[in-house]
Symmetry: C2
Subunit: 490 residues, 2 copies
C-alpha cells in the first residue's frame, strides 16, 4: 500500500456491478478470518473469504502457535493444573496493562474454557504433555507451557500461576516441517471448507463500499491489479492483521519498533485499519507492541541482564516478551547478558537449547573488572552489580529481582557478555477499537453499521504488555464473535 492509493470509502452508487456476492465477506484468511468464517457459516450465512495471498494461513500459520487460554481448560485439567477464570483475569490485568480493555479481558477469561473446547471440536489437536523449562516454544510437540511469566516475579505474587500457553499438536515438528501455528490453522481451514465457506485468493482489499446511510455493504478490491467488487449482504469482517510492515504507520504510531518487525508477515500493512479510519473508526493503543528478546531463554536464565549502567533491571527467568520490552523500552535498547563459562556450557547442553543463537559472547574476560573495561561500562558498575548478586546468590536468594532459587548461582570466572542490541524484535498490537461483539466503533462511540473486525487489525486484550498466545487467542475468540455478529446483521 502506498499513500497515494485512496482508502476512502466508495459510494455504492459508483459500483456498476458486483463480481462476487455473499452474506458475510471476511477479509483475510488467518486466525481471525477463519474463525469468523466458521461461525458465520454455522449461523446460516453464505460466507466468502477474500485473501490477498495464494492461500489460507496469514501470520498465524507462520507463528509458534500459542493460544493463551485458561480458567481450567480440559488440557490444563488433564495435566493436573488448577486454574480459574478469576486468577487468569488477575494475571492478564497486571501483565497486559496499563490501559487494557477490562471488559474484553473479563469476557475472554470467562469464555476461555469453552473456547478451548470449541477449537478441539473443530479438529485442532492438543497433546497432553507439559513442558516446564524456559524457552520460546517446547522442544517437541508438548501441548502446554508457561508463556507469559506467570510463575516468575512479580506475577507469581499477584495471581496463582498456571501455564496457559496452549499449542496445537504439531505431530511432525521433530521432522522440522510444520510449526504449531500451521497445525492450528490447518484443521480450522479444513473445517471452514467442509462447512461450505467459499474463498477467493489473490484478492487485495482497497476500499470499503458504503451506502447512502453510511452502512458498509461491500468492498472494492483488486486481483492482479484489476478491480473486483464484492457485495456483503449482512456484513464485512476485517481480519487483515497488524500494521507492523507499514513503515509510515510504525513511524507515526509505534516508532520504538522501527526497523525491527518480526513474528509477522509482510502482508501486515495496516490496510484494514486505514479503510476503517477513513470511515471515522476509533483506534486504541496504537503504540502497543510485542517485543521479544530473541536470545535462548536457557542462556538468559543462567546469567544476568544488565543495562548500559551495568545494573540489573528484570528477573532473568521470566518471559522473553517481558525481557524484550524492558530492554527496548525501559533501557533504550542498551542491554547485555553476562554469563560465566560453566553456565554457558550447561545451557548449551539442555534439551531445549536453541541452536540458532549459538554465537559466542562478544566479550570474554578472566575477571569482572576486565570485562567491565572491555565492555566500556562506567567504572566499578558491573563489579558492584556482580558483587551484590554473588553475595546474595551464595545464600541462594535474589532479593533485588526475585529470580527463582533454581537459577540463582554466583557468577564465576572466566565469563563473557553478549550485546543484546539487535536481539529484539516485535510486532504491533494496536488497531481498531471494537466492542465485545467485534463491531468496529466510530469515534462517536457507536458501531459503524455492517463493519466487524478481529485479530491484530484491532486492539484486543493487550495494551502495554504481552503474553505469548494473546494474539492467536483474542484473534480466534473475537474472530468467532465477528462471524456470529455479522451473520445476524440482516
Amino acid at each position: 500500500m502506498t499513500e497515494t492509493a485512496s482508502v476512502r470509502p466508495l459510494p455504492v452508487s459508483e459500483v456498476s456491478s458486483w463480481d462476487f456476492e455473499a452474506d458475510v465477506v471476511v477479509i483475510g484468511y488467518g486466525i481471525a478470518g477463519v474463525c469468523a468464517a466458521i461461525e458465520a457459516r454455522n449461523a446460516g450465512a453464505d460466507v466468502l473469504v477474500l485473501e490477498r495471498t495464494g492461500g489460507w494461513g496469514g501470520a498465524a500459520a507462520m507463528s509458534g502457535g500459542f493460544v493463551y487460554l485458561g480458567g481450567g481448560t480440559a488440557l490444563q485439567q488433564a495435566l493436573g493444573f488448577e486454574d480459574t477464570a478469576e486468577e487468569m483475569e488477575k494475571f492478564l490485568l497486571a501483565a497486559l496493562g496499563p490501559g487494557v480493555d477490562k471488559a474484553k479481558i473479563h469476557d475472554y477469561c470467562q469464555g476461555s474454557v469453552e473456547h478451548f473446547d470449541w477449537l478441539v471440536a473443530q479438529g485442532v489437536p492438543f497433546k497432553e504433555e507439559f513442558w516446564g523449562e524456559p524457552g520460546y516454544e517446547p522442544p517437541a510437540d508438548q501441548g502446554l507451557m508457561y508463556s507469559g511469566g506467570e510463575n516468575a516475579a512479580p506475577f507469581n505474587a499477584i495471581a496463582v500461576p498456571a501455564p496457559r500457553g496452549h499449542l496445537a499438536w504439531t505431530r511432525d515438528k521433530k521432522l522440522g516441517e510444520k510449526g504449531g501455528g500451521y497445525m492450528l490453522m490447518e484443521p480450522l481451514a479444513q473445517r471452514a471448507e467442509k462447512l461450505g465457506v467459499r474463498h477467493e485468493y489473490d484478492v487485495r482489499l482497497r476500499r470499503l463500499v458504503v451506502d447512502e446511510a453510511g452502512r458498509v455493504v461491500g468492498v472494492a478490491a483488486t486481483r492482479y491489479g484489476k478491480p473486483v467488487h464484492v457485495r456483503a449482504a449482512r456484513g464485512v469482517v476485517l481480519a487483515t492483521g497488524s500494521f507492523a510492515y507499514n513503515h509510515e504507520m510504525v513511524e507515526r504510531y509505534a516508532p520504538k519498533i522501527l526497523g525491527r518487525p518480526a513474528a509477522t508477515v509482510e502482508e501486515h500493512d495496516g490496510i484494514g485499519i486505514r479503510v476503517a479510519q477513513a470511515l471515522g473508526a476509533e483506534l486504541a493503543h496504537m503504540d502497543a507492541t510485542e517485543v521479544a528478546l530473541i536470545v535462548d531463554p536457557q542462556l538468559v536464565a543462567r546469567g544476568i541482564l544488565v543495562n548500559g549502567r551495568g545494573q540489573r533491571f528484570i528477573t532473568e527467568d521470566t518471559y522473553a516478551g517481558r525481557m524484550g520490552q524492558a530492554v527496548l523500552q525501559d533501557q533504550q535498547n542498551q542491554a547485555y547478558l553476562i554469563i560465566d563459562e560453566v553456565a554457558l556450557e550447561e545451557a548449551l547442553e539442555t534439551e531445549s537449547a536453541m541452536s540458532f543463537l549459538r554465537t559466542p559472547p562478544k566479550w570474554v574476560a578472566e575477571t569482572v573488572a576486565e570485562l567491565e573495561t572491555e565492555m566500556g561500562l562506567p567504572e566499578q558498575t558491573l563489579q558492584a552489580t556482580i558483587e551484590l548478586y554473588n553475595r546474595h546468590a551464595a545464600e541462594g536468594k535474589d532479593p533485588l529481582l526475585h529470580k527463582k532459587p533454581e537459577w540463582v548461582k554466583p557468577i564465576g570466572t572466566p565469563l563473557g557478555a553478549y550485546d543484546l542490541r539487535g536481539y529484539t524484535g516485535g510486532f504491533t498490537l494496536g488497531g481498531l477499537r471494537t466492542d465485545l461483539d467485534s463491531r468496529v466503533l466510530h469515534v462517536s462511540g457507536e458501531p459503524i453499521p455492517g463493519l466487524y473486525a478481529a485479530g491484530r487489525v484491532t486492539s484486543g486484550i493487550c495494551a502495554g504488555g504481552y503474553a505469548s498466545g494473546c494474539s492467536l487467542g483474542d484473534g480466534s475468540f473475537f474472530g468467532r464473535r465477528a462471524g456470529v455478529s455479522a451473520a445476524a446483521d440482516k
Copy 2:
C-alpha cells in the same frame, strides 16, 4: 463532550442558515488560535475566532510561558549565547524522538530566528536577562533559560548547548499576578483585536460542516446549549488543544498518564481531534506525553534519584521533563529522591527554591542502612549505590551518569528520602497529522480540503521526548502557517 454526542460531519445541505460567516474561522483562542488569526488577517482574510470559554487565553495563558526558540535569536545574541539552526536541530532530533517529524523540526529550526522577531513585532516583550540555575522557571522576569536539558548529559555531548527557553517579560511576576504565558498571550490577543479579528465567546465546537465534495465549509457549534452554525468561506483552523482531559481518549491512547493531567486546562477534551477523525484524518504519536517531575530542581540536583531497586537511572541535574518521563515510563513510577540534611538545607536557601513543595522527606535516618530498611528497598541495594556514588563523588566525578561536577558531592548523614509517586504530571502531545502548511492530512495522505490545525490538537515537533517551550513554540509557529494557508484557500 460525551461519547453520545455525535462528532460526525454535518452535510451543508442540512444547514438552513448561518449564524456567523467569515473567510477564516479559527476554533480556540489560545496560542495557536491567536497566531493563526493574526496571520490570516494580515493576509487579508476576514477572521472570526470561536472560543468556548469567556475569553482568550487557553492553556497558554495558564502556562509558564516558555517558547522554545534558537538558532541565534536576537535575545540569545544580546545575552552572548551563540547558537545555530543546525545545533538546535541536532538537539531536537535527539531529545524529542524517536519517530519525530523530521521535516517539521527542520522547518521549525530554520524559521526560529524569524519567528522570535515576529513575536517581538507583535508586541511580546522579552527581558534581556539570563537565568542559569536549575528550576522550572526563572525566579523573576528573566527572559532566557535552559529548558530541555541541553547542557546536561547526554545532550551536552550531542549538540553544542544553548539556552532556548524564551520567556515573555512578565513585569509584575514578583507581585505574583501574572505568569509568562499570560504575558505572551496578552499582546498577541491585543494585536489580533487591533487588526480587526472578530471573536465570539462561549461557543463550543461540535461538528464540522462539509459540502458534497468533502470540503470543510463551516462548523456546527453550540452556545449555552443552542445550535450555532458558522460558515467559513476559505477554511477552518482547529486550535482546540490536547486531549489530556478526555479520560476515555487518555485510556485508549496514552494510559501512562491516566489520572495525572497537569499543565493544561479542562477544555482540552480532544474535540478537535474527534471531529477531524470523523472525516478520516490521520493521527500521530497519540501515546506521546510530557511528564514533569514536580519537585524543586534545586533539591533534585543536590541529591540522587533512585528507582525501586535502589539504583540511579538519570542524571539529577537535567530538565525536569526528562526526569519525569524517566520516572513514570522507564521506572514504572517507582522512584525516590535521596538527599542529606546539609544539601537539603542548602537547597531551601537558594533564591529560586520553590516554596510549594517544602515538605519534609518521607523517611529520615541516621545511616544509609537504616534508610534502606525504612524505605523497604531490597537489602544492600541503596547502600551499594551510595557507596559507589560517594567513592566517585570524593573525586568530584560521576562516571555513571555524568552529573556536572558542581552538583556532585558525597552524600552524608543524616539523610532522608522523598517518595516521588504522585509527583509527576503531564499532558498529551499527540494529535492530528498536519503538513508544513498546517493542513490536516487524511489517512490517504492528501490534505482534507478546507481544514487546518495547529497547537496541541496536532502532533507537532515532539514524539517521545519534550523540552519546555515546544508546545507554545510549535503552536505559535505552525499556528501562523495555518492562518496563512487558510487565508490563501479561496
